[in-house]
Point group: none
Chain length 230, copies 2
DNA sequence: TAAAGACTTAAGGAGAACCTTAAGAAAACC
DNA sequence: GGTTTTCTTAAGGTTCTCCTTAAGTCTTTA
């Protein structure tokens, strides 16, 4: 039984809607087109969605209203799509419950990357809360308190460092490429300089070494990425 | 049971159609000729296709219509073939659901390479995420951990060696020419010296031989390339 | 059976990938 | 608005990979 990831596309312009559906289909997900706010609400009541792409200019019921309703009843992530979003409106949307926004005109690569990024994060969030702690060797991460300790001693990590470490511990055997790490830890699809990641990894290592200088927790796989050393 | 890859060729000119079918056949896939839009639709309804090559100038039903129908009902990748494609039309086609385009006059090498490339991408997307391991005899590749083991013992490969081995195991019966391997494993179309590949293969063999000196995993097909030895 | 062509193997150097430190830029905090 | 913390960029040094060369071995063919 294959698990299908379903994305609801709410956009009144037929061409744009179709374009978005194509992008989604090509990424391996299942799109469903809705052309008005009211139609969107019907789909949202009927079943659960993994992600909603929402245009703000809609006939019937405005995008803002749809967004507010989703936020009130549901925890489905929403990406806003709109032509004109000044900074203030953006902030307002995010407050109301939007997770991200894409401004028109957008390009295919960008949309695709954003969708991927959100689904990944969402899945992580959904998986992790059940287990409130992650451990590896003598490292222990408390996901609720967002604290990290090694050998029982608490260590202080920055937000980025913490996120990277959580990701590594979430799949101890997996090799994470730098691109993997950027996509999962950074907000937007942002491919920073590889060196940025080197520095973060280096800093994480040296903090871990404060407690236990002998143990090499993070392994470098040349030409591939990083992995916890088992 | 051999898995056949089927490609539908929609092109009204008989000579060109035949030429395309030959190229496809020589690449090891199974072509089916269709000479009008309506004929193409019949084939598309009847069975599933791995790829569609679509001319835009067609009798009966235009290529654009065929493309739109495929996009709406189906997720089959489509490569457009056409004489006149200005930049705007290209973008429009891509929007409607085309995955790539080739402009006439085309050369055989190019068509062949594009087809291969699309099928590879498509198969990667479809196959790899579902199965996280590849096996052949006693070799086991864990695609997440990016590790290779033979007879249960883990072996250490460099990034290039690993990529080559993954490719070989992904199609155990296929003979990979050196050019194949270069195209798939290297980033840009980089045709290194043939001997470069010889060296890589040699290194892979000797690493595998560390664990099991009697088994010859990789076979040399004289004048052609390499293949896993079954 | 010799010669040509195709493949194998070993070794060295160029350069890519990586690590570390330090300083400038940006963000968060007070 | 200024201070502190965090993030990114830059530079220099180190390590490891990959490509090439070149000599040796095996196949095919004339």
């Amino acid at each position: 039984m294959v698990e299908q990831i379903k994305i609801l596309v709410v956009e009144d312009d037929n061409d744009i809607n179709q374009l978005l559906c194509n992008i989604i289909r090509n990424s391996g997900y299942v799109p469903q087109a809705a052309f008005s706010g009211t139609e969107a609400m019907l789909y949202l009541e009927k079943e659960e969605w993994d992600l909603v792409l929402l245009d703000l200019m809609l006939p019937g019921m405005s995008g803002e209203e749809v967004l507010a309703t989703i936020a009130a009843t549901n925890s489905t992530p929403v990406i806003i799509i709109s032509a004109k979003l000044d900074q203030q409106t953006k902030v307002g949307m995010i407050r109301t419950g939007a997770d991200d926004y894409i401004t028109k005109p957008f390009d295919i690569e960008e949309v695709s990357a954003r969708i991927d990024s959100h689904l990944r994060r969402y899945q992580r969030i959904n998986k992790l809360p059940s287990m409130k702690k992650l451990t590896f060797k003598d490292i222990e991460i408390d996901l609720e308190a967002k604290t990290v300790s090694a050998q029982g001693k608490e260590l202080s990590f920055t937000a980025r460092e913490y996120e990277i470490l959580v990701l590594l511990l979430s799949s101890p055997k997996k090799v994470f490429t730098k691109k993997n790490l950027f996509e999962s830890v950074w907000e937007e699809p942002f491919y920073g300089d590889d060196n940025t990641m080197n520095v973060h990894i280096s800093n994480i290592r040296s903090k871990l070494a404060l407690v236990n200088p002998n143990e090499k927790y993070i392994e470098t796989i040349w030409g591939m990425g990083y992995r916890l050393k088992s």
